[in-house]
């Protein structure tokens, strides 16, 4: 892939013909049509990409992983473009990951976050988003405590918006990096043509309040996995209609032996204080992954966690340190997956074609 990928000038693309999507959950699958995957204008929900779009991101991420292994892990793909991060919630990890991804693509970055700049001065989300657009942002990466805030922003600005986590709603790039991590860990172990066909994934913990859960369930299911939820009823939505689930369980123990993947959600301390579960201690006793439970898992099963781990809560420290707990590679993979997303939303169509050819070349060479 090397140079041809990036020698293109991506600065003068005509605007995409895709309409602005203001959180259209109806059309989740519209963006992928037969033939070559079509690029959504914004990434608000993981479903916006469709199955083919997710596959494309994962393939692109492979190409960028190769780039990242070079002595100078940087390509000029988005030179002259500006990636703006707009964070209304403190999440240094996610922001840094996006900024690192942007820099490796040679994009400029602008960063607005809570506690800095005008975010605190009573300026509305609308005004801040439009200000960033006026300052030359080519894409807005939005993190917000309110579900749907990135969708609102997408309806107000003329540039693509990437949802970097909104309330309890979604965190699509987290799900994409989880899919990428899982692919790397499993090799091509799946059954059938789907990437995760035949895989059994259990998502464990506070699903109700989890944007990660809403994204990973969809993404894993779109790639063919059988996804189930494990949580006390107080931490499940009262309705699961419309969730692409194979099932759910109120107990973790019966699930352990059959799962290929345990996805352990983070427990917010305030949820364990008596209103959703009686105590963190009681939660840990029923849903914490300790060594006893770990030994009941399949030998080749893997553990995912969106991080940061509450050691001793979701995962016992000795479990967190097992090789099958992929937390560290999840973090590392976050950068290349976000590079892929930025490139997909900002790169020109011509560029994508080159990159696709290139990435397939890389795939061949690395002998997938």
């Amino acid at each position: 892939m090397r140079v041809s990928l990036v020698a293109q000038d991506c600065g003068s693309d005509p605007p995409k013909s895709e309409p602005v999507r203001a959180g259209d959950s109806q059309s989740s699958s519209k963006v992928s049509s037969k033939g070559s995957p079509r690029v959504p204008r914004s990434l608000l929900e993981v479903g916006d990409l469709g199955r083919e779009g997710i596959e494309e991101v994962l393939d692109l991420a492979d190409s960028f992983a190769e780039v990242s292994r070079r002595p100078i892990p940087k390509v000029p793909a988005l030179r002259g473009r500006t990636v703006a991060t707009l964070f209304y919630e403190d999440s240094t990890r996610t922001r840094l990951s996006f900024e690192a991804a942007a820099k490796r693509l040679s994009a400029d970055t602008m960063s607005f976050s809570l506690g800095t700049s005008s975010v605190n001065k009573g300026e509305s989300l609308l005004d801040t988003a439009r200000t960033l657009e006026s300052l030359g942002a080519d894409v807005l990466v939005v993190r917000h405590p309110s579900a749907g805030a990135p969708s609102r922003v997408a309806s107000w600005v003329g540039v693509p918006v990437i949802n970097a986590g909104d309330g309890w709603h979604e965190h699509p790039t987290q799900a994409l990096l989880d899919c990428y991590t899982l692919t790397k860990a499993l090799g091509r172990r799946s059954v059938g043509k789907d990437r995760f066909g035949g895989l059994s994934v259990a998502v464990v913990g506070d699903v109700l309040h989890s944007r990660v859960a809403r994204s990973v369930v969809k993404a894993f299911a779109m790639l063919g996995a059988a996804v189930s939820l494990v949580a006390p009823p107080t931490m499940l939505p009262s309705s699961l209609e419309g969730w692409p689930l194979a099932g759910f369980s109120y107990d973790l123990d019966p699930v352990l032996a059959g799962a290929d993947v345990l996805y352990m959600l983070r427990v917010q301390a305030e949820r364990g204080a008596g209103s959703f579960v009686p105590s963190v201690r009681e939660y840990v006793s029923r849903y914490g992954l300790n060594m006893d439970r770990f030994r009941k898992m399949k030998p080749d099963a893997v553990i995912l966690h969106p991080g940061p781990v509450n050691r001793g809560v979701e995962l016992a420290p000795e479990v967190a340190d097992q090789p099958s707990a992929l937390i560290a590679s999840q973090v590392a993979n976050g950068i290349v997956v976000r590079m892929a997303v930025l490139y997909l939303l900002l790169g020109s169509a011509g560029n994508q074609r080159d990159l696709e050819q290139d990435s397939s070349k890389v795939m061949d060479e690395t002998g997938a």
Binding site: S25, G148, G167, S238, S239, W243
Partner: protein, 504 residues
């Protein structure tokens, strides 16, 4: 009802007045093709083919329904305190354009209407308004739900409805005392039913869509619990209870049983709860945020059935203006509420009318006017919108996407109401709940105060937020084509709306 037909020999010469010509009257007495002569604020004659007195203003009503003016039990006029969103004047203009001749202003202003002088202030503002403005007083001081507001001093001004609307009185013991006290004053308590312990933190109906969208939900039971409690308290105290904006199937069923058990209860629903479902929230557009929240279709069907069988007594708008910037926020940060006054009649006609004129017996006049159930007119004073919009069901210039509930055709229930039922719900039944008495007659007959709504039930128009008279634009029906348009509104004999234009 012989008193309905005027003596044909009576002179049409009581000075310059107004004549409503060529329409079909639908009121509590039935339906008939008659002209109406109005003089000095009252109806003088009701008869077919009436001669126009010299100097009288003629309002053409051909092809139109002529009905007692509509009465809204639930308007947030925002003054004092919220003048950026609405004033008594702008809200009353919106009301008049919507066919209303009287509205009840809710007391959740800033400061709230929880004492006589606050009520006087709003009534004084209302004295100059285009429609009759009544106020509801608060049940508790500052609407805080802690101690009783001076209901007697407000009742002595003629206020007959009391509510902490925006919130319900949470404390059952306090609500019991309020009901007992209200019974002694002969006034009605109106409740916004929502149990805070179940509802707090929620921003939409709890169910399939809240689960998918990740928006904290409010279960239907939060409303139903308070409905059930208050019905029991009404039984305990013998007080008269009015339930505001019911939104769930369970609430309707509770009221149905309570009515059959003889409990003195009345209930209203809003136009938006009759046609919009929680699926609309998938846009994350706060235009669809309202309290109580939009519910799934099975609840909508139950509300419509409640209208049909008389369990629900009134359609009330819950007209709740909000400045544009307040709705330019993430869903959970935006305030609840939708405009309603200018679209209510058309929404109900579009969604629920059986499309027929002429099933009721004639009372006077030679024959029931057939105003053509298949006719479709376009283009009246307020509907000169781009033809491209007409027929389109998609809403939302803001978000682009969006499929609106297909008004009038969306539900499997097939519930349809006739014009008499619709006007009962929008006009004289709410007038009776608000105790308007002779100020708002249910029958258009000589001697009655001339508060009248004239509308063409067939005209189609597209809602354009920029053309609404309200100071706010937060209608959920932007871009939606509705059927039925108000042509003239008279309040106490004064034509405040002529040919769809407010006269002041």
């Amino acid at each position: 009802m012989p008193e309905l037909s005027t003596d044909p020999k009576a002179p049409c010469s009581a000075g310059p007045g107004v004549v409503i010509k060529g329409g079909t009257i639908v009121d509590a007495a039935g339906q008939r093709a008659c002209d109406i002569v109005i003089s000095r604020g009252r109806i003088e004659h009701v008869q077919p083919g009436c001669e126009v007195p010299c100097g009288a203003k003629v309002l053409d009503a051909s092809g139109c329904i002529v009905a007692p003016g509509l009465v809204d039990l639930h308007s947030h006029l925002r003054e004092p305190g919220g003048e950026l969103a609405e004033t008594v004047e702008s809200g009353s203009r919106a009301a008049a354009l919507g066919g209303y001749s009287a509205v009840v202003a809710m007391p959740n202003t800033d400061p709230p209407i929880d004492n006589a002088s606050a009520a006087h202030h709003v009534l004084d503002l209302g004295a100059h308004a285009l429609v009759e403005v009544m106020v509801a007083g608060a049940i508790t001081v500052d609407r805080a739900g802690e101690r009783l507001a001076p209901m007697a001093e407000m009742a002595s001004m003629g206020i007959s409805l009391f509510t902490d609307d925006g919130t319900g009185v949470q404390d059952g013991g306090l609500m019991r005392r309020a009901m007992e006290y209200a019974r002694g004053l002969g006034v009605t308590l109106a409740q916004h039913c929502e149990d805070r312990s179940l509802a707090s933190g929620g921003h939409m109906h709890e169910g399939r869509w809240s689960s998918i969208l990740g928006i904290p939900g409010i279960p239907a039971e939060a409303e139903e619990l308070m409905v059930a409690r208050d019905l029991m308290l009404a039984r305990l105290t013998g007080a008269r209870l009015h339930l505001l904006h019911l939104s769930t199937a369970g609430s309707v069923e509770l009221v149905r049983k309570a009515k059959s058990a003889g409990i003195k209860v009345t209930a209203e629903v809003t136009p938006h709860h009759l046609c919009l479902s929680d699926e609309e929230v998938a846009s994350y557009d706060p235009l669809f945020k309202v309290s109580p929240p939009l519910r799934p279709v099975e609840h909508i069907i139950a509300l419509q059935a409640g209208l049909e069988d008389g369990t629900v007594d009134a359609v009330a708008t819950d007209h709740a203006p909000h400045a544009t910037q307040a709705k330019e926020a993430p869903f959970d940060q935006a305030p609840s509420g939708m405009l309603g006054l200018e679209t209510a009649l058309a929404v109900v006609l579009t969604e629920l009318w059986d499309g027929r004129v002429g099933s009721s017996p004639q009372i006077c006049g030679e024959k029931t006017t057939d105003i053509g159930a298949t006719r479709q007119t376009t283009g009246t004073a307020r509907s000169s919108h781009s033809p491209g919009m007409a027929g389109s069901r998609s809403i939302g210039p803001a978000g682009g996407r969006h499929r609106l509930v297909d008004l009038g055709a969306c539900l499997p229930s097939g519930i349809r109401l006739n014009l008499m039922q619709i006007l009962t719900l929008l006009s004289w039944q709410p007038a009776s709940i608000a105790r308007l008495g002779s100020a708002h007659p249910s029958v258009l007959r000589p001697g009655a105060v001339a508060s009248i709504c004239v509308f063409d039930p067939f005209t189609r128009w597209v809602v354009d937020p920029d053309r609404l008279a309200s100071k706010s634009k937060n209608t959920p029906f932007a871009g939606v084509e509705l059927q039925g348009q108000v042509r003239h509104t008279l309040v106490g004999g004064e034509p405040v709306v002529i040919e769809g234009e407010a006269q002041r």
